[in-house]
């Protein structure tokens, strides 16, 4: 229960951060990616703020042996640069650049009731299912 409540609060705070930062404004996101047009660099500061705060917190938190409400930390261990990593990231970027939405802002924007956002999220979940159930085994 405490784990569920913590995860909920984290998701809530994350959405507020996305909204205040401007990440839920597709036009602004596309402006950030528009290096060859009227580039709006402001969203780079979302990464600056996020990385600075998380980098410090990560080092402090992982000194602990376990999270407050769990038995162990679950952290990525892979270091290999694979074709999947690069091709997958490239595909993700194409979708991000077309819609101006990545997964977090897409989910947070469901609250607007926009049909476009709903189409984005449903297709995203479909894409995840397509990979998880069909492509993953074949590409391994």
């Amino acid at each position: 229960m405490k784990i569920v409540a913590s995860a909920f609060v984290s998701g809530l705070l994350f959405a507020i951060g996305l909204g205040l930062a401007g990440m839920t404004d597709p036009a602004k996101v596309i402006g950030f990616l528009d290096f060859f047009g009227t580039w709006d660099p402001s969203l780079a500061f979302v990464m600056v703020g996020g990385i600075l705060s998380y980098a410090v917190a990560f080092r402090l938190i992982t000194r602990r042996h376990a999270p407050v409400f769990g038995t162990q930390f679950s952290l990525p261990t892979r270091k290999d640069l694979t074709p999947q990593l690069i091709i997958g990231s490239a595909l993700f970027g194409i979708g991000w650049g077309i819609a101006g939405l990545c997964p977090g802002p897409g989910l947070a924007s469901l609250a607007t009731g926009s049909a476009s956002v709903l189409a984005f999220v449903v297709a995203m979940l479909g894409g995840m299912a397509l990979y998880k159930y069909f492509l993953e085994k074949r590409l391994a």
Binding site: I3, S6, A7, F8, S10, L13, F14, I16, L18, G19, L20, A21, G22, P26, A27, G31, G37, T38, W39, P41, S42, L43, G49, G50, L52, S53, Y54, A57, F58, I61, V68, G70, S74, P76, K79, Q84, L85, I86, G88, S89, L91, F92, I94, G95, W96, G97, I98, P103, G104, L107, A108, A111, A119, F120, A123, L125, G126, M128, Y131, L135
Partner: protein, 143 residues
């Protein structure tokens, strides 16, 4: 280039809140706040993995409702791409984040903070391909 100090400061503030939310998930639950990975774990559920993931995604949606009520300027415009192109974009995001093991949150914030080589490569790749997509969209007249 657009320079607007206020939007720089809001971006920085929002980024710090995102970093803090991610740190909270690590401190209390022990997980990396990678939104695509957390969500995909609901699409193909594993035993014991559903409740915290559903709660996090529920929090994201609830936070969106809070923004609509208290800070509606977070959503200044609906996407103008049309439903078909938007759905295609969603499909790319879904497949791409799973094949590439992450998105803007897991790679771009958490991974770079951990100095993960994979995340640095992934982030540079999706920013580059996103920029290319914006150029192509303009070229074909879909800005």
């Amino acid at each position: 280039m657009v320079i607007d100090i206020n939007s720089f400061l809001m971006a920085l503030l929002g980024g710090i809140i995102i970093g803090t939310a991610s740190a909270g998930l690590l401190l209390f639950v022990g997980r990396i706040a990678g939104i695509s990975g957390i969500t995909a774990g609901l699409v193909k559920p594993a035993k014991g993995e559903v409740p915290w993931r559903a709660a996090f995604v529920g929090g994201l949606v609830a936070g969106g409702i809070g923004l609509v009520v208290f800070y509606p300027q977070a959503f200044p415009a609906v996407i103008s791409r049309g439903p078909l192109l938007t759905a295609i974009a969603g499909l790319f995001v879904g497949v791409g984040t799973q094949m590439g093991s992450g998105c803007t949150s897991g790679h771009g914030v958490c991974g770079i903070s951990r100095l993960s080589g994979r995340s640095i490569v992934a982030t540079l790749t999706f920013i580059a391909s996103g920029a290319a997509a914006v150029v192509v969209m303009r070229f074909v007249g879909l800005t």
